[in-house]
């Protein structure tokens, strides 16, 4: 314990520098992502004129359209113009319908955050509880049951879970709506009805990773010598778990939680499709397939920021929780 205290002293001195370094690292990643996404979207065969003109395209019409959209300018110039706009708070206009990208993203981001937030609020506490308890009662019937159930849930494709849930609860039993119609939600009751199935499906598929990583990290910590030592010293079980075990297992747990949560925004295309939920993941898929570069870029920016926010937080927690402070 003396060592941990010393570590904490170190920490107070180095904390600002440490966090600064992490944030700088995150910014580097962000730059990498922006450039890469722009590059990939431009390398992909075809451009927005394909989606606009479709089967009716002629070379002449494509050339005129490309000129009109500014797609005949060099990639570098286009990137620069985009970046310049973003730095001034302008996300540009959709190449497809000419409307501001920000207007297309705003309502959908709101919807997505709502869904992700509700799912996280359900999934995180449940999975931490299940993970920690099954580590404590390792190799008991309870542990096995939790393992099999969570694995079983994640191993069924999410479109199956979602579609079957709709079929059972909306079509057969008529107790819940088939569509998660956010626009008509005006009360808590309506919210619960509309969000019950999408949130439950999302929670089920994200649960497994968090439960398993929590259980593994906790189990490892609980078998460490210092826990046995503490046990011998007569530390009570609640104190043992909360004070001795959890702080040591927190790094991997927070990492797993961060990774799971970051996928709740961009990785939920299937759930959005099954429940016809107008979120940002579907917007990104649409934009990628129509090569609507400004929209793709803006969505990528949102996903990347969310991801970095969560993982940077996880990284900082990991470092703070290391046995001897952080790396000097």
């Amino acid at each position: 314990m003396a060592k941990r205290k010393q570590g904490a002293g170190d920490l107070n001195r180095h904390l600002p520098a440490l966090i600064g370094r992490r944030i700088f690292a995150a910014a580097t990643s962000l730059a990498f992502v922006i450039v890469t996404v722009f590059a990939i979207t431009n390398i992909l065969p075809g451009d927005a004129t394909d989606a606009l003109l479709g089967q009716g395209a002629t070379p002449q019409a494509i050339a005129a359209m490309r000129h009109d959209l500014g797609l005949d300018r060099s990639v570098f110039l286009r990137f620069w113009l985009w970046l310049w706009g973003v730095l001034h708070g302008q996300f540009g206009y959709s190449l497809l319908n000419g409307l501001p990208v920000a207007d297309a993203i705003r309502p959908r981001l709101h919807n997505s955050l709502l869904l992700a937030g509700a799912s996280a609020a359900v999934a995180v506490p449940v999975s931490l509880f299940l993970g920690i308890t099954s580590a404590i009662w390792k190799d008991t019937l309870y542990d096995r049951a939790v393992s099999v159930l969570t694995l079983g849930m994640v191993s069924v494709p999410e479109f199956v879970i979602g579609t079957m849930a709709v079929y059972v609860f909306a079509v057969r039993l008529h107790v819940l709506p088939a569509l998660a119609d956010v626009a008509s939600v005006h009360s808590i009751g309506q919210f619960l009805r509309a969000f019950f199935m999408p949130v439950a499906s999302l929670a089920l598929v994200t649960l497994a990773q968090m439960v398993r990583m929590t259980r593994a990290a906790m189990a490892d910590t609980l078998s460490a010598p210092y826990i046995e030592m503490a046990l011998l010293k007569g530390v009570g079980p609640a104190r043992l778990i909360l004070v001795h075990a959890i702080p040591n297992a927190i790094g991997p747990i927070v990492n797993a939680v961060a990774l799971s949560l970051s996928s709740l925004l961009g990785g939920v295309v299937v759930i959005e499709v099954v429940f016809t939920y107008p979120g940002i993941a579907g917007l990104m898929v649409d934009a990628v397939s129509s090569r609507d570069v400004p929209t793709v870029q803006a969505c990528a920016l949102v996903f990347c920021l969310t991801y970095l926010l969560l993982t940077t937080f996880a990284d900082i927690v990991t470092i703070l929780s290391l046995p001897r402070g952080r790396k000097a």
């Binding site: 390398i43 065969p45 398993r212 990583m213 990492n255 961009g266 990528a300 290391l322």
Partner: protein, 268 residues
């Protein structure tokens, strides 16, 4: 990864046996059915099981049992291979990032973060555009998509381990980095890492069907289990085995492998 495998081989017969069993089924399974998985006759679609069609027919009237065996082959082989790649690369880089040089961590860390926050759809489309639709391209795509996640997990684990007393002691003894990695770090992170491998395997089974849907990879009339579920999804309302059985097989395959990995960890 080699050490992980070594560990498996030495002590953990159940997991190894199970993996061998699935590989065996993947290679020899398709011989068990007299039906051609691509054969389309005049049978009705989504029919119930019969003597000629043990599991009935699918959405085009093809034999579900023959297609199931074909699906197991593709799913098992492709997902085993890509999970192996993703986890080997991820673990290797994760440990390297912690043990070698700080700048390596900086570079790999930024790359991993970058890859993780770029939607996998973009990668998949890029791979199709550059390499076309081949099995190798498919395995590599899936490997790339899951390696950064494995990297993050292994790095988090390794960071914790290198600061433990026995590693410091080993360092003080003047052991080489290779020795420390193989003898001290790898064995101690094997547990949580195996949990991670198992999950990644599940994800890869599901990802495969999404990629097949996009157009990369397993080409018709060949099929993988996830795509089989997807193409027969409408059979749900008729309770068709063409949709239900592949779901069950995916569950048995992935849950089984995970439980076997868990129990082998428990013994170790």
């Amino acid at each position: 990864m080699i050490a992980l495998l070594g560990k498996l081989r030495g002590k953990h017969d159940r997991a190894v046996l199970l993996i061998v069993f699935w590989l065996f089924l993947a290679l020899l399974g398709p011989l068990c059915s007299s039906q051609d998985p691509g054969a389309i006759g005049s049978q009705p679609v989504f029919s119930s099981p019969s003597i000629t069609h043990l599991l009935g027919t699918d959405y085009l009237g093809r034999d579900t049992f023959a297609r199931l065996l074909n699906g197991i082959r593709h799913t098992v082989i492709l997902c085993f291979a890509s999970t192996l790649i993703a986890c080997s690369v991820g673990t290797f880089l994760g440990i390297a990032a912690v043990t070698v040089r700080p700048w390596l961590e900086a570079v790999t860390g930024r790359l991993a973060d970058g890859f993780l926050s770029i939607p996998s759809l973009l990668f998949a489309l890029l791979v199709i555009a550059v390499f076309g639709t081949s099995t190798v391209a498919l395995i590599i795509t899936m490997g790339i998509i899951y390696a950064p996640g494995a990297y993050r997990t292994s790095r988090a684990l390794a960071q914790r381990i290198v600061r433990l007393d026995f590693v410091t002691v080993a360092r003080a003894r003047g052991e080489s980095t290779a020795y420390i990695v193989l003898q001290e770090i790898l064995p101690n992170m094997a547990g949580p890492m195996i949990a991670d491998v198992g999950l990644r395997f599940i994800y890869s089974v599901l990802l495969l069907s999404n990629l097949s849907f996009l157009g990369i990879g397993v080409q018709p009339p060949e099929v993988d289990l996830g795509s089989m579920v997807r193409e027969n999804m409408l059979g749900m309302v008729y309770g068709s085995p063409a949709m239900i059985v592949p779901v069950a097989v995916i569950a048995v395959l992935t849950v089984g492998i995970n439980l076997a990995l868990d129990s082998s960890r428990g013994k170790g």
